[in-house]
């Protein structure tokens, strides 16, 4: 019963905040919104405790029947297993911390309660997404997440650029959503059911490995995941989504939204196992995205955009793991990534506030002396991101990299991608750290460092999680092994083992050493950024604009490419179509109305004598007609 209420506390809070709006004081709105999410977090921890004591490790609660499609029923049923347990703990736990921080961050905003209401709705949608036992409920949450991201990215809609970013995020993810909707239609028409557990069972009974239908359905599901998780063809919305307030970025990147795609693939792993080709597509998309995002992050000037590209590349790792069949490693990386990315974003938010909304890295510098607490928190986040041994990122990322070489759907080439990605990660992290925290201060304003406790404590908790998150590895492993165990056995039963060859011994050492190489490399390569300027007179650290770095700055030109390939032709066609035949028919009616109006206007001369004369002529004429 705790489970049945879990997703609805934030929903109630959402309605309270929307109905009362600005009449609520800051304190009231904070108590309601943060309290609701905290309540969800507490209940999810209790539910997870209960889950461990149940034999089959599944809890379902049927709330009501939503509708029925022929014989298949679509129920409003919450389904909790190991995978959704991990997800709800991340969504509510990290979500609650972000809410708490956001309450402090957005305190001065006049639309504070609207902001918190959207954040709550975001959590509701994400919880429905991960707890839905059928794909329709999952899709409801899926679209809800999309809607909330639109509302929150465009929260400061008075600036047209923000509204554009919100629209872009909505439209680009919509392309993936369409693919996913088609996948749902195909699943229903071929299997006649939308319950996830039933689908997995039916699919493995009816289809062999490599079946055409499984291939197409998996491919379309991948399309949905790619849109939501900002992977290769549809990744362009994520950096622009930085237009929203910083806690939103943290929420989108850490706890919700972008992890939805990873969750979808992990949840539908039964289908993906039936089509190894799509699995390797997943892996390749992940691998390419993590490289692309890594390169793009190297050239960014905005602190939040660096983090955005880093999220993209970390999601790439998760995709890579899923594609390689390392399901639980991918989901574990999702969890640790949520810890350190939330920490990084929230700390970045504090820094941005301290610098009076300055986000340009080249206008920061020397913050280590002025904001020692924030600096050390950020450093903790970065070392977890780089995956230095001992941090949470290390456990998950090494596990992913380990699983790649021997996987039949990934292989050695993708292993090298992952290693190169790890190298890039450490290089751009160091660049970010040097630019923002070391060197000479380039800030134009006085740094203000009077943060309230409400904005500090969540950061300490997150830092603790980022450092020690590796301790959860066992717990997550046990939880997830129950979810993914049957799939592994069935895959082996169909004589299609995912493990083909044993990996060489040196792989592990390379994976551990790579981040250090990156740090050493950037220590020398970015020496300018970290040194104080008195060593070199008149030396200014500036962004060097040339074609090459501009190319990386613009996310490897994907925006321009899509502008040319899709947006411009579309606008051109739309312009052509402005005067199509149907338009002409409608416009001709306007023309008729206009003509008659002109005639009637001309008849209204206002001249009385003219009226009288016309009247007389008309009477004579009518009399003539009647008499003759």
């Amino acid at each position: 019963m705790i489970l049945s209420w879990l997703p609805f506390y934030p929903l109630i809070s959402f309605f309270i905040l929307i109905i009362f709006g600005k009449r609520l004081s800051w304190l009231m709105a904070t108590i309601v919104s943060v309290g609701a999410v905290t309540l969800s977090a507490l209940s999810s921890f209790i539910v997870i405790q209960q889950l461990a004591q149940i034999d089959n490790h599944i809890i379902t609660v049927q709330l009501w029947q939503w509708f029925s499609l022929g014989t298949a029923q679509v129920n409003f049923t919450l389904y909790l297993d190991g995978l959704s347990a991990v997800m709800i703990s991340v969504v509510t736990g990290i979500g609650a911390l972000i809410h708490l921080y956001a309450a402090g961050y957005m305190k001065e905003d006049e639309n504070f309660s609207r902001f918190m209401a959207y954040m709550n709705l975001f959590i509701v949608a994400m919880l429905l997404l991960v707890l839905g036992d059928n794909l329709v409920l999952l899709y409801l949450g899926w679209e809800g997440v999309g809607l909330c991201s639109f509302l929150l990215i465009g929260f400061w809609y008075q600036d047209p650029a923000n509204a554009m970013a919100a629209k872009k995020a909505f439209i680009v993810t919509r392309i993936g959503d369409t693919a996913m909707a088609i996948a749902l239609f195909m699943l229903f028409s071929t299997l006649g059911d939308l319950n996830i557990a039933n689908i997995t069972e039916l699919a493995q009974q009816q289809w062999l490995v490599g079946d055409d239908k499984a291939y197409w359905i998996a491919l379309l599901l991948l399309g949905g995941a790619v849109g939501k998780s900002a992977q290769l063809p549809l990744q362009t919305w994520l950096p622009d989504a930085m237009a929203g307030p910083t806690p939103v970025s943290a929420l989108i990147h850490a706890a919700t939204m972008v992890t939805a795609g990873v969750y979808l693939i992990a949840r539908m792993h039964g289908i993906f196992l039936l089509s190894p080709e799509v699995m390797s597509y997943v892996a390749w998309i992940g691998g390419l995205t993590l490289l692309l995002a890594g390169f793009a992050a190297l050239a960014q000037t905005d602190i939040k955009r660096v983090l955005a590209y880093s999220t993209m590349s970390q999601i790439g790792y998760m995709m890579l793991a899923l594609g390689a069949g390392a399901w639980s490693e991918g989901v574990f990386h999702l969890m640790t990534h949520a810890f350190f990315k939330a920490l990084l974003f929230l700390t970045a938010g504090s820094i941005i506030l301290a610098l009076h909304h300055q986000q340009n890295l080249f206008k920061m510098g020397g913050l280590a002396r002025k904001l020692p607490i924030e600096t050390s928190l950020f450093a903790i986040g970065l070392i977890a991101l780089i995956a230095l041994p001992g941090t949470s990122g290390f456990y998950s990322k090494e596990a992913i990299i380990d699983s790649l070489w021997s996987s039949s759907t990934a292989g050695a080439a993708l292993w090298w991608c992952a290693i190169l990605g790890a190298f890039l990660t450490s290089v751009y992290s160091c660049r970010l750290f040097f630019l923002a925290f070391l060197g000479e201060s380039r800030s134009e304003h006085q740094v203000k460092d009077d943060f309230s406790a409400i904005m500090r404590w969540p950061l300490f908790l997150l830092a603790l999680l980022a450092l020690l998150g590796g301790l959860f590895a066992n717990m997550v492993e046990i939880n997830l092994s129950n979810v993914f165990v049957d799939s592994v056995s069935s895959a082996q039963a169909s004589s299609h083992s995912l493990v083909t060859e044993s990996s060489p011994h040196w792989l592990h050492y390379v994976a551990i050493v790579t981040p250090f190489i990156g740090i050493v490399f950037s220590w020398f390569y970015f020496a300018d950024y970290r040194q104080t300027s008195h060593s070199k007179t008149n030396h200014e650290v500036q962004y060097t604009a040339n074609n090459f770095s501009d190319f990386f700055l613009n996310g490897l030109g994907f925006d321009a490419l899509y502008q040319r390939l899709i947006v411009n032709p579309y606008c051109f066609l739309a312009k052509l179509n402005r005067r199509d035949i149907f338009d002409q028919i409608i416009m001709s009616s306007r023309w008729y109305v206009d003509l008659w109006r002109e005639a009637l206007v001309a008849s209204q001369t206002g001249s009385l004598r003219w009226y009288a004369a016309t009247l007389g002529v008309a009477v004579v004429f009518l009399l003539g007609v009647v008499l003759l």
């Binding site: 009637l600 206007v601 001309a602 008849s603 209204q604 001369t605 206002g606 001249s607 009385l608 004598r609 003219w610 009288a612 004369a613 007389g616």
Partner: protein
């Protein structure tokens, strides 16, 4: 008393009516238009009286009384309006008073 032929009465009425009508559409001064209208009304009155005497019915004279009262009321209102128009526009030219042009 020699009964006039009805045709003559109708010719007289029609002639008066046409004179009045031509006056209405050709005069520019609103006062004269009003007077021409009176002529037209009286032409109709004559036609009614004539018809009443031909068919030996009182209805024709009743209609004439009605027209007479109507004309009186119309003149009273019309003159009052003319005075207002003169004050407002300093003119009674009907072509200047065309504010209702579409």
């Amino acid at each position: 008393m020699i009964a006039l032929p009805f045709e003559h009465i109708l010719i007289l009425a029609t002639t008066l009516f046409l004179i009045g009508f031509v006056g209405v559409i050709s005069r520019k001064n609103t006062l004269f238009i009003l007077m021409s209208l009176e002529v037209m009304l009286n032409a109709v009155g004559i036609a009614f009286i004539g018809a009443g005497s031909v068919w030996q019915q009182a209805d024709g004279q009743v209609m004439f009384i009605l027209i007479l009262t109507l004309a009186a009321a119309e003149v009273a209102l019309g003159l009052a309006l003319l005075i207002r128009l003169q004050r407002k526009f300093q003119s009674l030219d009907i072509d200047i008073l065309n504010k209702l042009r579409g």
